[in-house]
Symmetry: C2
């Protein structure tokens, strides 16, 4: 009834516990015949190593914490994709994934204590924002940490991200090339680096083309996009294009434009950012910039498993996907 121990395996195979341990851990210095005997015993007894005992002595846990800061909207379309992609990569590397939600100060504390307590071999930080104390706190522990998306500048963490500035530039340039003259922007919250970078790309292109910026702020949700679009229509009734920093906000903007009787793309062209599934099903289908989620996940896990102290961030290209909204 009890789970078999290494001792039992060793006894059955007629070897010492040390040798059984060697076999289980894949040591090369064991005679083939003995190794086979041990493996047979493992199989027959259904032996599974006790990870508590193992990590008690090795001081490694084989687990990686995936820390998620609560975003404004619970229903984040990329969350699912990112978590799955990162999860798949980690499992591929034989790591367990410990999911931690950190939204409140108590939550930050819990995560910090947990990580400092040596319960995980590494940390992946998802979607941090300005007030987030975790990057700084975790940098102090000696556990490898890597961020998904550029963290706020105060923390010097390694990170992987897509080229937010470049993607935004491509979006803005695309709108100008289509002959749009008054290109507005729905920006993300200024305390989130992704939002800032996308705004920067837009501004850069517009000022290079000698056009005035027209900006409203959102918080990455559909609702805020809809509200921002209403604001933009008031501030610049002559606008003929909008670039939103996320697809969700672009979708909110489409909603507002529809209610305001503006046709897309005839009257107003709309471009989003992220290329979520939903973008192909809006009316009209949304032109957007694709965030290479899977590639970023791969890069993150690779870098976490082989940490290089002062490496440059990994930035992956974000490509424009042209559909019918622009």
């Amino acid at each position: 009834m009890k789970r078999p121990t290494l001792e039992a395996v060793a006894a059955r195979a007629g070897v010492s516990r040390a040798t059984a341990s060697r076999v289980v851990n894949g040591s090369e210095t064991v005679h083939a015949k003995i190794r086979d005997a041990v493996l047979r015993a493992v199989d027959e007894l259904g032996y599974v190593p006790n990870s508590s005992a193992r990590s008690l002595v090795t001081r490694r846990t084989g687990a990686i914490a995936l820390v998620v800061s609560e975003p404004p909207s619970a229903e984040d379309p990329l969350f699912s994709v990112i978590v799955r992609a990162v999860g798949r990569e980690l499992e591929h590397a034989g790591k367990q994934v410990v999911l931690m939600l950190a939204s409140t100060p108590a939550g930050y504390d819990r995560v910090e204590r947990y990580v400092a307590g040596g319960h995980v071999d590494g940390v992946i930080l998802l979607s941090t924002h300005g007030a987030d104390p975790l990057p700084a706190a975790l940098a102090r522990t000696h556990v490898p940490v890597i961020a998904h998306g550029r963290p706020v500048a105060t923390a010097r963490l390694p990170y992987c991200d897509c080229d937010n500035v470049g993607g935004a530039r491509a979006a803005a340039r695309h709108l100008l090339e289509r002959g749009r003259r008054r290109v507005a922007n729905i920006a993300g919250p200024p305390d989130m680096p992704a939002g800032r970078d996308r705004l920067a790309g837009y501004r850069e292109v517009l000022s290079a083309a000698d056009r005035r910026s027209l900006i409203a702020m959102g918080d990455f949700t559909r609702e805020s996009g809809a509200a921002a679009m209403r604001q933009l229509l008031l501030d610049g009734p002559d606008l003929d294009a909008v670039f939103a920093a996320t697809d969700l906000m672009a979708i909110g903007a489409l909603h507002t434009l529809r209610r305001a009787g503006r046709r897309v793309p005839d009257d107003v062209a709309v471009v989003g950012f992220d290329d979520i599934d939903e973008a192909r099903y809006t009316d009209p289908p949304l032109t957007t910039v694709r965030t290479p989620v899977a590639a970023v996940a791969r890069a993150i896990v690779a870098r976490l498993l082989v940490p290089e102290p002062f490496a440059e961030p990994t930035i992956l290209p974000a490509d424009l996907i042209v559909r019918d909204s622009s």
Copy 2:
């Protein structure tokens, strides 16, 4: 530099390791003065219990596995909501969340071994489908298991779910009450209980009203909803209403209807199921049945922490949300 041990705490407080352990674990039988001394030592040294050592002896891990079967679409809007809701509840209960993705036979195996290996105190199964061997496999281990959503009938697992049949009934009844005469259905995959239950509710209401069913099959994705809608327009060009088993499929159906030049709701009324955020931003906003995600999550965690062997499933009501598409 090393992390302090209980021994160090005890030494600093001038007590034995046993007493320090008692204090750390909140035993009542310790003198107040001594307890304070120990707590002070804990604080000063920044002591964090070593969970490996602890679970080595207690045989409990304080961790719950959240097992996710890969759905057809990676970008599942409810995934984020469910995972967050369950995660929040578990953290509230002081449990760690170990996320495991199980999509391949190798993945199922990994999960089964992991759970059977005693690495977690309980398992929550998300979105199982017909071929999924996990419910049966995990039922054999002696670890408490609970499913989110009714598992396939072959496995006798406790579960929590929303009232899929009742919700579907409400949707179908609503369409009939609005005077629709030819109500079609876009059903989910037959190997997923949620899909089957929603189909059953629809069928029941239609046959009670003496109306013929008109059914096309999808796999819960937008794309499949769009395809199913095309099929329905061929099979029943006279249809004037569609009930889709998920909002995503309803959104796909809206897409197809728009392309086919049918106005919603004037020509065809559309009702979905789940009430994802996106449903409020479709054109027109989607009438749907709300899945009470947070309540289900709460029920799941509560039942997992206090397992009752042969308890009835917990079924929570799913309410109709009427918007403009019907």
